[in-house]
Symmetry: C2
Subunit: 275 residues, 2 copies
């Protein structure tokens, strides 16, 4: 049942199919430029061999079929696809899987059927719209099903806006937490921000959150209003894109000089309270 990982080193049989062997679930990163108005060169964000691995897959489970086809066209420009795009089997994750948890141990999972190509011996790609699948993104329930079904999981390195933001922040990288989205309702959000600051101070732990772009300004205002003046707050906007930026200041500094978000670009927010 061990999920042997190619470790980025495709085995000779990779991309092949059929036979008696079980296929792998290949966790394929995507670029970070979705909806940004930019189309970056895939080779700036994905390893060349990951692009080659993607080019060899005929079966995909994806967050969004349209963006997956766009990804495969970009792959094809670097490494020719093993088959024409219209011959690829591209299946979207059920909407429930976007929020879904794995089925309880032994329980039937509604999306285990998606693993059918792997169980039939074909390697199967898992792709989200941006960044790493199953990290701050749908897909983990399918990966859990793969473990339960004995399908080896093969993760590839690629861009993670969270890790880019954390590295660029200069905040504590040895202890951190990803909070996902904070509450939208103002009082609940304020309480949550104060709670995270207490935890950050106690554990010297960087707190990381994301927001939908049109709410970036509102989240930033709440952070600047609720956090202590000496707490360091980092904002990274449009990571991996031309004109992207990362800026870390004490909250007092942000009060004097507010952030200027680029409309439509995703941002990552990180903060660390002093000891």
């Amino acid at each position: 049942m061990a999920s042997d990982m190619a470790g980025g080193l495709p085995s000779p049989a990779d991309g092949m199919s059929g036979g008696g062997a079980i296929g792998r679930l290949v966790l394929m990163p995507n670029a970070l430029d979705l909806g940004s108005g930019h189309v970056v060169d895939l080779r700036t964000q994905l390893p060349d061999q990951a692009i080659a691995r993607a080019a060899g897959l005929r079966h995909w489970v994806v967050e969004n079929a349209k963006s997956a086809r766009a990804f495969l066209k970009r792959v094809d420009a670097v490494h020719p696809l093993v088959a024409p795009l219209q011959e690829m089997q591209i299946v979207e994750l059920p909407r429930a899987a976007h929020k879904g948890r794995a089925a309880p141990s032994g329980g039937a999972s509604p999306w285990r059927a998606l693993l059918a190509p792997a169980l039939a011996g074909h390697d199967l790609g898992l792709l989200s719209e941006a960044g790493l699948p199953a990290v701050a993104d749908p897909g983990s329930a399918l990966v859990a099903d793969a473990h339960a079904a004995g399908v080896p999981v093969e993760p590839w390195s690629g861009p993670s806006s969270l890790m880019l933001a954390l590295a660029a922040s200069g905040l504590e990288g040895q202890h951190f937490v990803f909070l996902g989205y904070l509450p939208v309702e103002a009082a609940a959000r304020a309480a949550r921000i104060r709670e995270t600051e207490t935890q950050s101070r106690r554990a010297q732990q960087t707190q990381i959150a994301i927001e939908t772009p049109y709410r970036n300004e509102a989240l930033m205002q709440a952070l600047v209003a609720q956090l202590q003046p000496a707490t360091r707050l980092s904002v990274s906007c449009g990571l991996g894109l031309p004109g992207g930026w990362s800026l870390t200041r004490a909250v007092a500094g942000w009060r004097r000089e507010p952030a200027a978000f680029t409309p439509g670009l995703p941002a990552v927010f990180s903060w660390l309270a002093g000891p």
Copy 2:
């Protein structure tokens, strides 16, 4: 003071030096094969354009000079270095920086002098021995100094054993915490494990920890002994390497069938308690 990031798109002046402009601090990922006995192809883990960016840098601050020279030789095999290796300026991070925090706002940092090449207009690479600099690794204090000094920070995508393990685990990827190392002392470690399980259940948050390879077995035994039988526990070993594996089971399953660690290979441990 905004740290414009190339977003993986080197500007025309990249790799150039001198002039009046300030240089950038380039956060360069390294491969994940340190000490494993394997030397993976860099192109399986790093974007081609990141390798090209590394090839163009003459100034480096690194976790370890010897491993940095080995990295640059591997870079040279893909994209020729801009100058002979012996002409590169390679400076090690002070040992204090390995555990160090940024100096308080306005305070003098003992390693700000390391930024001198950037302040003189040269792009400056930051490299750790494996994976992303400043993430579960030294370097964040230097990045904080760069922000304070107005040196733009340019992070590149690359391999993160934490993110590979999280993606491969099938556990909750929308909420997670990186704990670093757990206490070595048995009673403190047991208490810490129980505390993390409570937090995992409360927040449906994946807990991620690392250990030095020779203690992998001991940590695994402690996790299996302390966590509840239904808690899912994932072990990823030798990520990014041939023979690397990822396996997720309920703790009850690990009690029946213990993990077989590969000696010397780093492992990442992740767990998630049921709601």
